[in-house]
Symmetry: C2
Amino acid sequence: MSDAASQTSDPGRELVLTRLIDVPREKLYRAWTDPELLKQWFAPLPWTTTRAELDLRPGGGNLIVMRSPEGEEFPNRGIYLEIVENERLVFTDAYTSAWEPSAKPFMTAIITFEDEGGKTRYTARALHWTVEDRQAHESMGFHEGWGRCADQLAALAAKL
Amino acid sequence: MSDAASQTSDPGRELVLTRLIDVPREKLYRAWTDPELLKQWFAPLPWTTTRAELDLRPGGGNLIVMRSPEGEEFPNRGIYLEIVENERLVFTDAYTSAWEPSAKPFMTAIITFEDEGGKTRYTARALHWTVEDRQAHESMGFHEGWGRCADQLAALAAKL
Protein backbone atom coordinates (compact mmCIF):
# COMPACT_ATOMS: atom_id res chain seq x y z
CA MET A 1 0.00 0.00 0.00
CA SER A 2 1.17 3.53 -0.67
CA ASP A 3 1.92 5.98 2.12
CA ALA A 4 -1.19 7.91 1.21
CA ALA A 5 -3.28 4.80 1.65
CA SER A 6 -1.63 4.02 4.99
CA GLN A 7 -2.18 7.53 6.28
CA THR A 8 -5.92 7.45 5.74
CA SER A 9 -6.33 3.78 6.56
CA ASP A 10 -9.08 3.00 9.06
CA PRO A 11 -9.10 -0.73 9.72
CA GLY A 12 -12.53 -0.46 11.30
CA ARG A 13 -14.29 0.94 8.26
CA GLU A 14 -12.06 -0.05 5.37
CA LEU A 15 -11.63 -3.14 3.20
CA VAL A 16 -8.61 -3.47 0.94
CA LEU A 17 -7.78 -5.81 -1.90
CA THR A 18 -4.39 -5.61 -3.56
CA ARG A 19 -2.69 -7.58 -6.34
CA LEU A 20 0.61 -7.34 -8.16
CA ILE A 21 -0.47 -7.83 -11.77
CA ASP A 22 1.91 -8.44 -14.67
CA VAL A 23 0.14 -6.04 -17.01
CA PRO A 24 0.90 -2.34 -17.68
CA ARG A 25 -1.33 -0.05 -15.66
CA GLU A 26 -2.65 1.65 -18.81
CA LYS A 27 -4.39 -1.61 -19.80
CA LEU A 28 -5.91 -2.15 -16.36
CA TYR A 29 -7.14 1.42 -16.36
CA ARG A 30 -8.64 0.90 -19.82
CA ALA A 31 -10.50 -2.20 -18.63
CA TRP A 32 -11.98 -0.08 -15.82
CA THR A 33 -13.02 2.83 -18.00
CA ASP A 34 -14.15 1.35 -21.34
CA PRO A 35 -17.73 0.16 -20.74
CA GLU A 36 -17.47 -2.71 -23.21
CA LEU A 37 -14.36 -4.01 -21.48
CA LEU A 38 -15.72 -3.45 -17.98
CA LYS A 39 -18.76 -5.61 -18.81
CA GLN A 40 -16.41 -8.52 -19.49
CA TRP A 41 -14.88 -8.72 -16.02
CA PHE A 42 -16.84 -6.62 -13.48
CA ALA A 43 -19.14 -9.33 -12.08
CA PRO A 44 -17.79 -12.58 -10.61
CA LEU A 45 -18.85 -15.38 -12.98
CA PRO A 46 -21.43 -16.89 -13.33
CA TRP A 47 -22.83 -13.41 -12.64
CA THR A 48 -22.69 -11.10 -15.63
CA THR A 49 -22.70 -7.36 -16.26
CA THR A 50 -25.48 -6.48 -18.67
CA ARG A 51 -25.13 -2.73 -18.73
CA ALA A 52 -22.37 -0.21 -18.03
CA GLU A 53 -22.71 3.53 -18.50
CA LEU A 54 -19.67 5.48 -17.33
CA ASP A 55 -19.55 9.27 -17.41
CA LEU A 56 -15.88 9.63 -16.52
CA ARG A 57 -15.52 13.04 -14.87
CA PRO A 58 -15.85 14.30 -11.30
CA GLY A 59 -19.60 14.43 -10.73
CA GLY A 60 -20.28 12.13 -13.68
CA GLY A 61 -22.60 9.22 -12.99
CA ASN A 62 -22.13 5.54 -13.49
CA LEU A 63 -24.79 2.87 -13.88
CA ILE A 64 -23.71 -0.74 -13.77
CA VAL A 65 -26.29 -3.52 -13.93
CA MET A 66 -25.30 -6.99 -12.76
CA ARG A 67 -27.35 -10.10 -13.48
CA SER A 68 -27.48 -13.14 -11.22
CA PRO A 69 -27.31 -16.67 -12.65
CA GLU A 70 -31.09 -16.82 -12.04
CA GLY A 71 -31.60 -13.79 -14.28
CA GLU A 72 -32.34 -11.20 -11.61
CA GLU A 73 -30.85 -7.77 -12.35
CA PHE A 74 -29.22 -5.49 -9.79
CA PRO A 75 -28.63 -1.89 -10.88
CA ASN A 76 -25.90 0.09 -9.10
CA ARG A 77 -25.75 3.84 -9.44
CA GLY A 78 -22.92 6.02 -8.32
CA ILE A 79 -20.84 9.09 -9.00
CA TYR A 80 -17.20 9.56 -9.89
CA LEU A 81 -15.39 11.86 -7.47
CA GLU A 82 -11.89 11.80 -8.91
CA ILE A 83 -10.34 10.64 -12.17
CA VAL A 84 -6.57 10.55 -12.77
CA GLU A 85 -5.90 8.77 -16.05
CA ASN A 86 -3.97 5.50 -15.65
CA GLU A 87 -3.51 6.17 -11.93
CA ARG A 88 -6.63 6.51 -9.90
CA LEU A 89 -10.43 6.26 -9.90
CA VAL A 90 -12.67 7.28 -7.02
CA PHE A 91 -16.42 6.75 -6.95
CA THR A 92 -19.19 6.48 -4.39
CA ASP A 93 -22.78 5.34 -3.97
CA ALA A 94 -23.48 8.30 -1.66
CA TYR A 95 -25.00 10.12 -4.65
CA THR A 96 -27.17 8.84 -7.50
CA SER A 97 -26.42 11.86 -9.70
CA ALA A 98 -24.58 15.14 -9.11
CA TRP A 99 -25.41 15.85 -6.29
CA GLU A 100 -28.52 14.00 -5.31
CA PRO A 101 -27.99 12.07 -2.04
CA SER A 102 -28.65 8.35 -2.37
CA ALA A 103 -31.02 6.52 -0.05
CA LYS A 104 -28.05 5.11 1.84
CA PRO A 105 -24.38 6.15 1.56
CA PHE A 106 -22.62 2.81 1.85
CA MET A 107 -19.11 3.15 0.51
CA THR A 108 -16.50 5.05 -1.47
CA ALA A 109 -14.17 3.04 -3.69
CA ILE A 110 -10.61 4.12 -4.42
CA ILE A 111 -8.94 2.16 -7.21
CA THR A 112 -5.22 2.81 -7.75
CA PHE A 113 -2.78 1.61 -10.40
CA GLU A 114 0.93 1.99 -9.55
CA ASP A 115 4.11 0.88 -11.29
CA GLU A 116 6.00 -1.67 -9.19
CA GLY A 117 9.05 -3.48 -10.53
CA GLY A 118 7.82 -3.59 -14.10
CA LYS A 119 4.36 -4.79 -13.04
CA THR A 120 1.32 -2.99 -11.67
CA ARG A 121 0.31 -2.72 -8.05
CA TYR A 122 -3.47 -2.80 -8.29
CA THR A 123 -5.30 -1.76 -5.12
CA ALA A 124 -9.03 -1.52 -4.54
CA ARG A 125 -10.09 0.11 -1.28
CA ALA A 126 -13.66 0.28 -0.03
CA LEU A 127 -14.19 2.95 2.63
CA HIS A 128 -17.46 2.68 4.52
CA TRP A 129 -19.22 5.27 6.65
CA THR A 130 -19.77 2.82 9.50
CA VAL A 131 -18.07 -0.20 11.01
CA GLU A 132 -21.36 -2.08 10.60
CA ASP A 133 -21.36 -1.47 6.85
CA ARG A 134 -17.76 -2.64 6.57
CA GLN A 135 -18.68 -5.79 8.46
CA ALA A 136 -21.73 -6.36 6.26
CA HIS A 137 -19.65 -5.89 3.12
CA GLU A 138 -17.06 -8.34 4.41
CA SER A 139 -19.77 -10.88 5.25
CA MET A 140 -21.28 -10.44 1.78
CA GLY A 141 -17.99 -11.80 0.46
CA PHE A 142 -15.94 -8.71 -0.37
CA HIS A 143 -12.58 -10.49 -0.44
CA GLU A 144 -13.73 -13.45 -2.50
CA GLY A 145 -15.92 -11.40 -4.83
CA TRP A 146 -13.53 -8.53 -5.48
CA GLY A 147 -10.66 -11.03 -5.61
CA ARG A 148 -12.31 -13.09 -8.35
CA CYS A 149 -13.13 -9.90 -10.25
CA ALA A 150 -9.50 -8.79 -9.95
CA ASP A 151 -8.44 -12.11 -11.47
CA GLN A 152 -10.94 -11.66 -14.31
CA LEU A 153 -9.70 -8.09 -14.79
CA ALA A 154 -6.06 -9.22 -14.93
CA ALA A 155 -6.84 -11.98 -17.44
CA LEU A 156 -8.77 -9.62 -19.71
CA ALA A 157 -6.21 -6.79 -19.52
CA ALA A 158 -3.40 -9.22 -20.37
CA LYS A 159 -5.11 -9.85 -23.72
CA LEU A 160 -5.45 -6.17 -24.65
CA MET B 1 -34.92 28.43 -8.77
CA SER B 2 -33.28 27.21 -11.95
CA ASP B 3 -34.63 24.32 -13.97
CA ALA B 4 -31.70 22.23 -12.83
CA ALA B 5 -32.61 22.90 -9.23
CA SER B 6 -36.24 22.05 -9.86
CA GLN B 7 -35.37 18.82 -11.61
CA THR B 8 -33.42 17.45 -8.71
CA SER B 9 -35.56 19.04 -6.04
CA ASP B 10 -36.66 16.72 -3.26
CA PRO B 11 -38.86 18.71 -0.88
CA GLY B 12 -38.48 15.99 1.75
CA ARG B 13 -34.71 16.19 2.06
CA GLU B 14 -33.85 19.63 0.73
CA LEU B 15 -33.73 23.15 2.14
CA VAL B 16 -33.40 26.12 -0.17
CA LEU B 17 -32.57 29.75 0.43
CA THR B 18 -32.62 32.18 -2.47
CA ARG B 19 -32.07 35.92 -2.78
CA LEU B 20 -31.93 38.40 -5.63
CA ILE B 21 -28.85 40.44 -4.73
CA ASP B 22 -27.87 43.71 -6.41
CA VAL B 23 -24.18 42.80 -6.66
CA PRO B 24 -22.31 41.19 -9.58
CA ARG B 25 -21.88 37.45 -9.10
CA GLU B 26 -18.08 37.70 -9.34
CA LYS B 27 -18.07 39.63 -6.03
CA LEU B 28 -20.36 37.17 -4.27
CA TYR B 29 -18.21 34.29 -5.50
CA ARG B 30 -15.10 36.08 -4.23
CA ALA B 31 -16.66 36.51 -0.79
CA TRP B 32 -17.29 32.75 -0.74
CA THR B 33 -13.80 31.74 -1.86
CA ASP B 34 -11.39 34.24 -0.28
CA PRO B 35 -10.87 33.01 3.32
CA GLU B 36 -10.34 36.52 4.71
CA LEU B 37 -13.62 37.68 3.18
CA LEU B 38 -15.54 34.56 4.13
CA LYS B 39 -14.59 35.07 7.78
CA GLN B 40 -16.36 38.44 7.69
CA TRP B 41 -19.83 37.11 6.83
CA PHE B 42 -20.03 33.32 7.25
CA ALA B 43 -21.39 33.15 10.82
CA PRO B 44 -24.59 34.95 11.86
CA LEU B 45 -23.57 37.75 14.25
CA PRO B 46 -22.88 37.76 17.19
CA TRP B 47 -21.26 34.45 16.20
CA THR B 48 -17.92 34.87 14.46
CA THR B 49 -15.74 32.84 12.12
CA THR B 50 -12.26 32.51 13.60
CA ARG B 51 -10.65 30.29 11.00
CA ALA B 52 -11.22 29.49 7.34
CA GLU B 53 -9.00 27.20 5.27
CA LEU B 54 -10.34 26.62 1.77
CA ASP B 55 -8.59 24.27 -0.66
CA LEU B 56 -10.67 25.16 -3.71
CA ARG B 57 -10.57 22.12 -5.98
CA PRO B 58 -12.65 18.95 -6.26
CA GLY B 59 -11.46 16.80 -3.38
CA GLY B 60 -9.90 19.79 -1.60
CA GLY B 61 -10.80 20.19 2.03
CA ASN B 62 -12.27 23.09 3.92
CA LEU B 63 -12.07 23.84 7.61
CA ILE B 64 -14.25 26.58 9.01
CA VAL B 65 -14.30 27.30 12.73
CA MET B 66 -17.20 29.28 14.16
CA ARG B 67 -17.20 30.79 17.64
CA SER B 68 -20.29 31.30 19.75
CA PRO B 69 -20.85 34.53 21.71
CA GLU B 70 -19.81 32.52 24.80
CA GLY B 71 -16.46 31.72 23.19
CA GLU B 72 -17.06 28.07 22.34
CA GLU B 73 -15.53 26.99 19.02
CA PHE B 74 -17.19 24.69 16.51
CA PRO B 75 -14.96 23.32 13.75
CA ASN B 76 -16.61 22.20 10.51
CA ARG B 77 -14.68 20.05 8.07
CA GLY B 78 -15.77 19.23 4.57
CA ILE B 79 -14.71 18.61 1.02
CA TYR B 80 -15.35 20.51 -2.19
CA LEU B 81 -16.95 18.36 -4.86
CA GLU B 82 -17.34 20.87 -7.68
CA ILE B 83 -15.97 24.33 -8.40
CA VAL B 84 -17.14 26.46 -11.33
CA GLU B 85 -15.65 29.94 -10.99
CA ASN B 86 -18.25 32.67 -10.45
CA GLU B 87 -21.07 30.17 -10.98
CA ARG B 88 -21.19 27.27 -8.59
CA LEU B 89 -19.70 25.71 -5.47
CA VAL B 90 -20.55 22.26 -4.15
CA PHE B 91 -19.25 20.87 -0.88
CA THR B 92 -20.21 18.21 1.63
CA ASP B 93 -19.53 17.04 5.18
CA ALA B 94 -19.70 13.40 4.05
CA TYR B 95 -15.88 13.39 3.94
CA THR B 96 -13.33 14.97 6.23
CA SER B 97 -10.55 14.74 3.64
CA ALA B 98 -10.30 13.10 0.21
CA TRP B 99 -11.83 10.53 0.60
CA GLU B 100 -12.14 9.70 4.27
CA PRO B 101 -15.79 9.17 5.24
CA SER B 102 -16.94 11.46 8.05
CA ALA B 103 -18.60 10.13 11.18
CA LYS B 104 -21.96 11.21 9.83
CA PRO B 105 -22.84 12.38 6.30
CA PHE B 106 -25.33 15.15 7.01
CA MET B 107 -25.61 17.36 3.95
CA THR B 108 -24.29 18.53 0.60
CA ALA B 109 -24.45 22.26 -0.14
CA ILE B 110 -24.89 23.63 -3.65
CA ILE B 111 -24.30 27.36 -3.94
CA THR B 112 -25.15 28.98 -7.29
CA PHE B 113 -24.64 32.48 -8.65
CA GLU B 114 -26.72 33.40 -11.73
CA ASP B 115 -27.21 36.63 -13.65
CA GLU B 116 -30.81 37.84 -13.43
CA GLY B 117 -31.87 41.20 -14.81
CA GLY B 118 -28.59 42.90 -13.99
CA LYS B 119 -28.52 41.45 -10.49
CA THR B 120 -27.48 38.08 -9.12
CA ARG B 121 -29.77 35.23 -8.25
CA TYR B 122 -28.02 33.70 -5.25
CA THR B 123 -29.24 30.25 -4.24
CA ALA B 124 -28.02 28.05 -1.42
CA ARG B 125 -29.39 24.52 -1.37
CA ALA B 126 -28.78 22.01 1.40
CA LEU B 127 -29.44 18.42 0.34
CA HIS B 128 -29.66 15.93 3.20
CA TRP B 129 -29.40 12.16 3.14
CA THR B 130 -32.51 11.72 5.26
CA VAL B 131 -35.79 13.50 5.89
CA GLU B 132 -34.93 13.47 9.62
CA ASP B 133 -31.72 15.39 8.99
CA ARG B 134 -33.55 17.95 6.85
CA GLN B 135 -36.08 18.40 9.65
CA ALA B 136 -33.33 18.74 12.26
CA HIS B 137 -31.52 21.33 10.12
CA GLU B 138 -34.74 23.27 9.69
CA SER B 139 -35.42 23.16 13.44
CA MET B 140 -31.84 24.33 14.11
CA GLY B 141 -32.83 27.50 12.28
CA PHE B 142 -31.64 26.97 8.70
CA HIS B 143 -33.83 29.66 7.18
CA GLU B 144 -33.07 32.33 9.75
CA GLY B 145 -29.37 31.45 10.05
CA TRP B 146 -28.58 31.09 6.37
CA GLY B 147 -30.82 34.08 5.63
CA ARG B 148 -28.90 36.34 8.02
CA CYS B 149 -25.63 35.11 6.57
CA ALA B 150 -26.89 35.84 3.06
CA ASP B 151 -27.67 39.41 4.17
CA GLN B 152 -24.17 39.74 5.68
CA LEU B 153 -22.69 38.29 2.46
CA ALA B 154 -24.64 40.76 0.30
CA ALA B 155 -23.60 43.72 2.45
CA LEU B 156 -19.92 42.75 2.35
CA ALA B 157 -19.87 41.97 -1.38
CA ALA B 158 -21.50 45.32 -2.15
CA LYS B 159 -18.44 47.03 -0.64
CA LEU B 160 -15.89 45.07 -2.71
